[in-house]
Amino acid sequence: MTTVLDSLNSALHSAMESDPRLYVLGEDLLDPYGGAFKVTRGLSTRFPERVLTTPISEAAILGAATGMALRGLRPVAEIMFGDFVTLIADQVVNHAAKFRWMYNDQVRVPLVVRAPMGGRRGYGPTHSQSLEKMFLGVPGLKVIAPSALGDPGALLLAAIADEDPVLFVEHKLLYTRPLLQAGQGDLADFALESGGDPFPYFVLRPPAPPRLTVATYGYNFELARAAALELMMEHEIFCDLLVFSQLSPFDLTPLFASLTQTRRLLTVEEGTLTLGWGAEVAARAVETVSGLQVRRVAARDLPIANSRPLEDAILPQVADIVAAARSF
């Protein structure tokens, strides 16, 4: 059984093997520890000169990666917890993402920042957030998030191959999930389509005409899928499920195709509700599809509590998605 973690780890191994310009840098990456979530496990043993363990200096990690990228290397930086992307904000917004355009296309900044995001592990207010929304819409930056669908490792390789900076958002709970295949397990009742190159989207179509369209990304597809099954089995409500891996720039064309059928959009994300990914998706959908009704399921606008019942109450749950879908 291949997990999302295996897929990402193998991708990094093959990328380092095939490209001597590829460097990996971040905190606590060296074996035998191999990174806080083990995504970089084994790399420092095989490629000791190109795996750079760093001090706790997120701004310098990103700045160094930017300089390396400007001068011919292909850096992949790890930010140990996605919560710490606040510490790289200046480097991302005012340096890495800006240089290509600001310098009149005379330079390229091909770097990847990997950031494990997300809660549901009881890590509390500063180690559980989904802060990617702060980076959506930053000109020159791509934000990409794998899910258990498709090939997360291939997605990471596509991010590495990109000529522009990419923030690669990995939800922590995804790491141990097995890769999902169409037609297997609880996906058996859905038809799977995908498109979009090199950062694919996935469309799961139910066995009967859909009443609504659910849009999501990353780990929250797991919740959306569970909710879709419950809605189908217990309420005879069928959903189109749209799963994006490219969050920004926004390209929602496949979503619009589904919405012209359903006229009902439900977005699901783990970041806080206000000004989140779903807000932009909804705004663009309303601008494009007439007669649209919208619901958003997201985290409450609160810090994430440590206590499990509180954390559960703050983060979106399957029941919230079911309730929102039934509220149309």
């Binding site: 750079l52 001090p55 990690i61 700045g63 001068r71 290397l73 200046d90 340096h95 720039p249 390209d251």
Partner: protein, 311 residues
């Protein structure tokens, strides 16, 4: 042509370029802002007289002087025309009018307007050059004001840990915008580098030859592979931080003019050489500014507008 003549001519080019800019602003021909290098010319000219043409430079908001001196060290020579065009927002500017005064890129020269944030980028560049064994070194220019930024210290730590070919040039012009260094910098400037084991060359001078001599040693240290170095130059900024924001007294502004690098260096040239430099610079700038003024403005194309809505 003597070395002293070349040093003088480049300092004069910077001085006259910046004077022209301020004049153009006052007549409304230029908009936005600028940060002139007047008074500090000896720093850049001394340093770039001892670097290699392909060395890499990351400069800051006060970058015109660095750029013109860097250009003078290159085979192409200084290009005040494309800098002027950039400042006028013209399509022929160094970055097509997108960056303006603080954000330029040409050959291996880069600048950005964020204090401190450029230093880790420069460290990463130095790492890339070291790993690719290019023999190039990276120079990053900071000021006394930059000493307040945390990213600087993260970068010094990395540069020392990884023995990067990075020369940090700290130009202490004694004011961060309007804030005197006494109100912004505690302790020792050199001590900041010493704490990371980074050797320091420190000079209190506006004499281009003294700066050249210190820079030669610091550059040699870095190029030899001995790790990063710092060059601290205590200097004077004669004009406002940008435009019209000078709160210093007239007495102070008069007093610091005794440290004019042009006046200090001029006696090493004959009157005929000085006249020749003046005439050469004057002709170069007249041509640069008039040509830039008649160049077209850039247009926003679909491709550029949608940088963030398509991939």
């Amino acid at each position: 042509m003597t070395d002293n003549f070349a040093l003088y001519r480049t300092m004069l080019l910077i001085r006259r370029f910046e004077e022209r800019l301020l004049a153009e602003f006052s007549t409304g021909k230029l908009v936005g802002t600028t940060h002139t290098y007047i008074g500090q010319e000896a720093d850049a000219v001394g340093i770039f007289s001892v670097t290699d043409p392909d060395d890499i430079v990351f400069s800051n908001h006060r970058c015109h002087g660095h750029f013109l001196a860097y250009g003078a060290s290159s085979p192409q020579g200084s290009d005040p025309y494309r800098l002027a065009a950039e400042l006028m927002g013209k399509a022929t500017g160094l970055v097509g009018g997108r960056g303006g005064s603080q954000h330029i890129q040409w050959r291996n020269f880069y600048s950005n307007g964020i204090q401190g944030g450029i230093v880790p980028v420069a460290a990463g560049m130095a790492l890339a050059e070291k790993e690719q064994q290019s023999g190039k070194i990276v120079l990053v220019f900071i000021g006394d004001g930059t000493l307040g930024e945390g990213a600087l210290y993260e970068s010094l730590n990395l540069a020392a840990l990884w023995r990067l070919p990075l020369l940090v040039v700290l130009e202490n012009n004694r004011y961060a915008q309007t804030t005197p260094v006494e109100l912004a910098v505690a302790g020792s400037m050199a001590g900041r580098f010493a704490a990371f084991g980074i050797p320091v060359w420190e000079r209190e001078t506006s004499d281009v030859l003294e700066i050249q001599s210190a820079a030669r040693e610091a550059v040699a240290h870095v190029r030899f592979g001995a790790g990063p170095a710092a060059l601290i130059l205590h200097t004077y900024r004669f004009m406002a931080h940008s435009k019209g924001d000078d709160t210093r007294s007239p007495e102070e502004l008069t007093r610091i003019r005794q440290f004019d690098p042009l006046t200090i260096h001029a006696p090493r040239l004959s009157p005929a050489e000085r006249d020749a430099a003046e005439a050469e610079v004057s002709a170069l700038l007249a041509e640069a500014f008039s040509r830039a003024a008649s160049d077209p403005f850039p247009a926003l194309t679909t491709d550029h507008r949608t940088l963030n809505t398509e991939h």
